[in-house]
Amino acid sequence: LLTTCAYALIERSRHTSGKSDTVVLKLGHSLDTGHPVHLAMERMAERLEELSDGAVRMRIAPNGQLGSETECIELLQRGALAMTKTSTGPLESFIPEMAIFGVPYVFRSEEQFWNVLNGPIGDELLVSGDDSGMMGLCWYDAGARSFYTKSTPILQPDDLRGLKLRVQNSQTAMRMVEALGGSPTPLTFGELYTGLQQGLVDGAENNPPSFWTSRHFEVCKEYSLDEHTRVPDLLLISRSWWERLDPEQQAWLRQAAKESSEWEREAWRVRTEESLKAVEEAGVHLHYPDTKSFAERVAPMHDSYDGTAVGALMARVRETE
């Protein structure tokens, strides 16, 4: 036993002293291997190896093998994990400003949303985790979230009245559904299919590809594309790992991330179209409600952020074209 301990320490010193030629960045995330974001990160790994001539590599562990999104962020902050992909939802617990993406109808259009992300606001948000040991490398598109219900189409906010809608277990998500007039029911994703089937909840909300892959369309026949929120994904790197790289390596990483982000936006667009077509063929009715009345309904929720960091950010978003 003592020998094993001693051996572990020798190995450790070998690792610290011997300047190794290659850096392996381990990335953990919760998506399956068919997801556009996973595919984009795989391309990024290939590109990085190409740019660095094999000196910087990424090793990706999908399916939450290394922990949930929140757990991976924690590990990343302390340098136990080099990289992770997360939705901005769990990031709210670490960086309060990220809550802006959970507030409905902050963005006027998809175009404005991307102008914000690719502009100064997006860049500021990428480095906003600086103090807490993490840094954003790029944004990935995760589309717009809309309501799907078993039988009631949501054409105007009043249609939500009395409906039990599943939300993620977060305060912003609960307030969002309440603001629109529904009654929010927090439920773990794994229990959602049975919950919908047996009437525990009347509906849920998600983007078209998730609606398709979760097979919730088998139970929910009305998909109302009210596009209330746009919650992007974010690729994070641990601050301590970032500082271990030399400027040239950092530049390669940035370039590979940027290229994968561009590739993913296109892949996501294609996937969204395919998913909508597929659910429609499976007998789902698609509805395109006028979002104006929804946006008016949430004005009090917007006002409630006045004087907060999120409120200040929302004001700047409004001024972005």
Binding site: S170, S183, P186
Partner: protein
């Protein structure tokens, strides 16, 4: 035969009882919390926003405090097949090695690792999604559990050296 020191023995029993009482109370509270969650959904028609998360987080405390108390009684599952067929002297030596490993685990992972976990998480200001609690307070259970395990580990070593069965709390009196 020298008897184990009495103050250490008394302290260990008091701490064990406190940890047990805390873990048992948390279990009772958990039943009520989850039942309240069911009640609000059926009777009040609106799901409660705090029950699931608080129940999950209390589970960390239940485990950490309960596992420390269980270690006082040698209840943590192990494979004693091989050690039990050894000569009594060898068995005692193995017992001492095991207790020292438990102390090493408690000191490095639970006390040191747990303290870093707690302090760093408190410093980063991370909060839980639904109730907005500082996550560091959830992790505070880890170093507390580790301190308990170290205390019981030392006590069991003293008992082993005095040739008393470490799993029998009455054996000392």
């Amino acid at each position: 035969m020298n008897k184990p020191t009495t103050p250490l023995f008394r302290l260990a029993r008091v701490v064990e009882r406190m940890l047990d009482a805390a873990a048992g109370s948390i279990l009772a509270i958990l039943v009520l919390i989850v039942a309240w969650g069911v009640f609000t959904r059926f009777a009040l028609g609106a799901a409660s926003w705090w029950t699931e998360e608080s129940a999950r987080l209390l589970l960390v405390w239940l485990t950490m405090l309960g596992a420390a108390a269980a270690s006082a009684r040698g209840e943590n599952l192990g494979v004693d097949y091989f050690a039990s067929r050894m000569h009594p002297d060898a068995r005692r030596l193995i017992g001492l090695t095991v207790e020292m490993t438990v102390i090493a685990f408690a000191a490095s992972v639970l006390v040191y690792g747990g303290l870093v976990l707690m302090v760093e998480t408190l410093r980063s200001g991370q909060t839980t999604a639904a109730i907005g609690l500082r996550m560091g307070w959830v992790y505070a259970a880890v170093p507390i559990s580790g301190l308990g395990m170290i205390l019981f580990g030392v006590e069991r070593i003293v008992r082993l050296l005095a040739n008393v069965d470490p799993n029998d709390p009455e054996a000392v009196a």
